[in-house]
């Protein structure tokens, strides 16, 4: 029952706020942000509480049977396929559920303050609740189609929230881009399901792991699943939507595009880890792609001037770290990083939101500076987040990131290349985060004087979540990954963990130092640089390409073939009619002549065919 309630509460919140919004807006009234936000936040808080009790219940169980399953109803049944609508709460789900509901509650709370001026506040909260509902479906679903339901559902919520300010078409288009790129990934998911059903005969998450599959199938299945993850979790090649997704409200970025939704790829891989880990090809693909993404995104982040975009690329990069972890078989480490990342990245986003809020929407970091005095709480909490993402001990990021770097080296599947990618990315992370940190909070105020004076600390509803998250960023890593996923875990290795720990801290410090060196004084305005031009290439390939294909289909196939065939056949009939009509000259004698010719033809035929007749 509790599992169900966990997902039902956000759904309830969604309905209440949604209907409220509709009624209010058709009557032209405004909804009180506080009331609406309270409903939404309470729904999430209730959900979180329930998740906690479930978690505790789970802890009380013996390790091998830690599973609370609730079947709501039979969803689809056709032939050999039987899909139940069931919710499974186990260790992996627990982590994600707690993160979603916990961080979610905080962000809901934060939104009450952040979005207080928003006209359609009830709509906003209903979307947020809807997102949480779908996300919980994703992590609690017991079957692949159920996961897919959540998978698409969060995509939808993401679409809605990115395009929340829909009067600006770019926002809408950013949402569309996210939705469609996710859908491209989803195709992988779908086909993976088809393959899974064809060869394993089931779509149940537990059963499919038990199924005996040929290595070939496993590889294809794993690659397709990973392809789906690249969409949802913004990995190469489908990562370009995430920076654009920053068009949405900042709390949304914090919740969806940093803490929860984008990590569902990790969830899926972790969930299916026996199958994923069964194929070396899949694992190394994941690791390489993850590493490359971490590196590329980090490089791009160094050249961004938009506060949120830096954080967005940072998210992509961090997600790359998580995939690296999965790719070397250390799924539990990846999940651990999901958790810590959720804390500190949400924190960073919320703090950034606080900055943006204070500056009335200013997002260019070269228009900021010197805000540490103006926004002390934001500054402190941001510092915590900064430290965490850099991996400075004892912040949470240190533990998870360090472990990832360690695993890339010592795991079965790890190797030096991946390790190198991880190290360089970590250094770059330190560089761009420090750059950001310095540009925002230190130096001179580079914005209008008036704006600077107007800047003020956020209200408590925004401050409190910041504080909580800052705490979590600090302590979140101390418990280690609360899950045990022992596939591909490191064995005893001659490389000491402490050495790696030392190396990673040094690397982070180096990166930070470099940034400090460059940006502590020199605040020359840098334009955003599209380093790799990937977005542009995609724009040409997908956007223009699709348009070209579509107009090509319309022009060359539809117009020149399909319609032309119809026209030509009509014209041919018409032409034959007109040609036959030529004989209709109007002269009786000509008609008679033609009759004679026909008669002669018939008789000739008669004689030819009748050569055997008679006696001649």
């Amino acid at each position: 029952m509790n599992n169900t309630l966990i997902i039902l509460l956000p759904l309830l919140g969604f309905f209440i706020n949604g209907v409220w919004h509709l009624i209010a807006s058709s009557k032209g009234k405004k909804v009180s942000p506080f009331a609406s936000g309270t409903i939404a936040t309470l729904a999430m808080a209730g959900s979180f509480a329930l998740a906690l009790t479930q978690f505790l219940k789970l802890r009380a169980m013996p390790v091998e049977s830690r599973l609370i399953e609730e079947t709501l109803f039979q969803w689809m049944k056709l032939g050999g396929l039987s899909v139940d609508f069931a919710l499974r709460f186990d260790s992996l789900s627990a982590v994600f559920t707690l993160v979603i509901t916990g961080v979610g509650t905080l962000i809901h709370l934060y939104s009450v303050g952040y979005m207080s001026d928003e006209e359609n506040i009830a709509k906003y909260f209903s979307y947020l609740n809807f997102f949480c509902f779908m996300m919980l479906n994703l992590v609690l679903g017991a079957t692949l189609p159920h996961v897919f339901l959540g998978w698409e559902g969060v995509g939808l919520a993401s679409y809605l929230l990115i395009g929340f300010w829909y009067k600006e078409m770019p926002n809408v288009l950013a949402g569309q881009k996210a939705f469609i790129m996710n859908r491209i990934g989803d195709l992988g998911f779908l086909i993976a399901m088809f393959i899974g059903f064809k060869f394993a005969g089931t779509l149940d998450l537990l059963e499919i792991q038990k199924a005996v599959l040929s290595p070939h199938v496993v590889t294809v299945f794993g690659l397709l699943i990973f392809f789906a993850c690249t969409g949802k979790s913004a990995q190469i090649p489908l990562f370009t939507w995430l920076p654009d997704a920053m068009a949405g409200p900042t709390p949304v970025s914090a919740l969806i595009h940093a803490a929860t939704m984008v990590t569902s790829g990790i969830y899926l891989l972790a969930r299916l880890n026996p199958i994923i880990a069964a194929s070396d090809i899949v694992l190394s693909t994941i690791a390489i792609v993850g590493g490359l993404t971490a590196l590329v995104a980090a490089i791009i982040a160094c050249f961004q001037s938009d506060l949120k975009k830096v954080l967005a690329y940072s998210t992509v990069s961090q997600l790359g770290f998580m995939f690296m972890a999965c790719g070397v078989g250390a799924f539990q480490v990846g999940v651990f990083h999901v958790m810590t990342h959720a804390f500190f990245k949400a924190l960073l986003f919320l703090a950034a939101g606080s900055v943006i809020h204070a500056l009335h929407g200013e997002q260019n970091i070269f228009e900021m500076g010197g805000l540490r005095k103006k926004l002390p709480l934001t500054f402190i909490t941001f510092t915590a987040g900064w430290a965490a993402i850099l991996g400075l001990p004892p912040f949470s990021g240190f533990f998870s990131k360090d472990e990832i770097i360690y695993e890339t080296l010592v795991s079965h599947h790890g190797n030096k290349i991946i390790f190198g990618l991880a190290i360089i990315s970590a250094a770059l992370t330190a560089f761009y985060m420090t750059r950001l940190y310095l540009l925002v909070f230190f130096g001179n105020a580079r914005m209008d004087k008036k704006k600077f004076d107007h800047a003020h600390e956020s209200p408590w509803v925004m401050g409190a979540p910041l504080a909580v998250l800052a705490t979590l960023s600090l302590v979140g890593g101390w418990f280690g990954a609360p899950v045990s996923l022992d596939h591909g875990a490191a064995e005893v290795s001659e490389i000491s963990p402490h050495l790696i720990m030392f190396v990673s801290v040094v690397i982070a410090t180096l990166g930070a130092g470099l940034a400090f060196f460059k940006y502590s004084k020199n605040t020359k305005v840098e334009k955003t640089t599209d380093v790799f031009g990937i977005d542009r290439i995609y724009g040409v390939a997908f956007g223009r390409g699709l348009q070209k294909l579509s107009s090509g289909a319309a022009k060359y196939v539809e117009e020149w073939v399909v319609q032309r065939i119809i026209q030509v056949s009509a014209a041919l009939v018409d032409l034959s009619g007109n040609m036959i009509k030529v004989l209709q000259v109007g002269s009786a004698q000509a008609y008679l002549m033609m009759i004679v010719l026909a008669v002669v033809a018939i008789f000739a035929w008669f004689f030819l065919g009748a050569g055997i007749y008679g006696n001649f």
Binding site: V585, G586, A588, Q589, L592, V596
Partner: protein, 102 residues
């Protein structure tokens, strides 16, 4: 020695029939066309009599009588039509009556 045989009449009748047909096709004067139709009928009449002779029966003769009657009636109507046409168009040229076409 060759004697007169009905098939010779048949050959003549066929020739006359075809000449009549050719006349209908080629002549433009409606009156001559009507005459050629009569020629065709005559040709057939001859063949009837010839066949009658061949079969040693008289049915063919009877038929010829009826055909003659029909021919008379038909040519009367035909001439009536030609007269009606002539009243309107002042012509008996078949080339002048090609308004209805297509």
């Amino acid at each position: 020695m060759i004697t007169l045989e009905p098939w010779m009449m048949l050959v003549v009748s066929m020739i006359i029939f075809c000449i009549g047909l050719l006349g209908v096709i080629l002549r433009k004067n409606l009156l001559i066309m009507l005459m050629c139709v009569e020629l065709m009928l005559n040709g057939v009449n001859l063949s009837f009599v010839a066949f009658s002779k061949m079969h040693q029966i008289l049915d063919g003769h009877l038929t010829v009588l009826f055909v003659m009657t029909v021919a008379a009636a038909e040519s009367a109507v035909g001439l009536g039509l030609v007269i009606a046409l002539f009243r309107n168009l002042r012509t008996v040229d078949s080339d002048q009556i090609q308004m209805l076409r297509d």
